[in-house]
Subunit: 145 residues, 2 copies
Amino acid sequence: MRLTLHTDLALRLLMLLDVNRDTWTNLTFASEKLEASQNHLNKVAQRLAKEGWVVSQRGRGGGLRLGMDAQEVSIGTVVRTLEAPSALVACMPGGNGQCTLLGPCRLKAILQNAEEAFLNELDKVAIGKLTEKNQQLANLLLDPA
Amino acid sequence: MRLTLHTDLALRLLMLLDVNRDTWTNLTFASEKLEASQNHLNKVAQRLAKEGWVVSQRGRGGGLRLGMDAQEVSIGTVVRTLEAPSALVACMPGGNGQCTLLGPCRLKAILQNAEEAFLNELDKVAIGKLTEKNQQLANLLLDPA
């Protein structure tokens, strides 16, 4: 049971941008700090930009920046948005591409219910809570430039 | 966010064995019904046997059978046992194999908490509840032999 690397990286990028909320962060810096490829990070940033959570500016002195109030967007909202709906409920891929048990299988509803409990917990925590009064994280992620 | 195919298949195999609780189920039958390879199913069965949830008997007329009371073992117990502990909390694999943010990152604890909420929901439902008074499922999975 795991989040996709895409979502994982998105959460960490938002943390990094929140720490550096007063400046534009360039992709090279973010890539080094998060130990992720610029290519992957760029895809994640584009996805977040689509939601308005990140804004980007081209050219010298540009880069990425939060496009939201990090206290207003929850981890749950980010996970719900980035993860495929109910990907958790991976029904058996049957011969025709559908689970052979579809219909009478009660597992799907039970897993969806549990997934909802999972997401409800994440709804309680704003992205901003990850960085708030977290000097140790700031030391790691703050852009000295 | 998803369960591993291994766990998914385990849950479905337990459902099938519960439907056929009065007989030995052979692997060929289970493999056809669940549209999974015998090899994969065998691995899953061995893992379940290790927990005593499935017993196997070699030879003609043998096969697999539930080794537990399906009303006594919850879906949560099965998932907790088969999934790697906190695999959900996939920290960023950093250069040294550890997440670069380890330590000040609050995400891990928050995701673990949410995972616990997910599993708590699954703890409430016994494997036996998946098959109980589920004639449509029995029609699909009952071994006519």
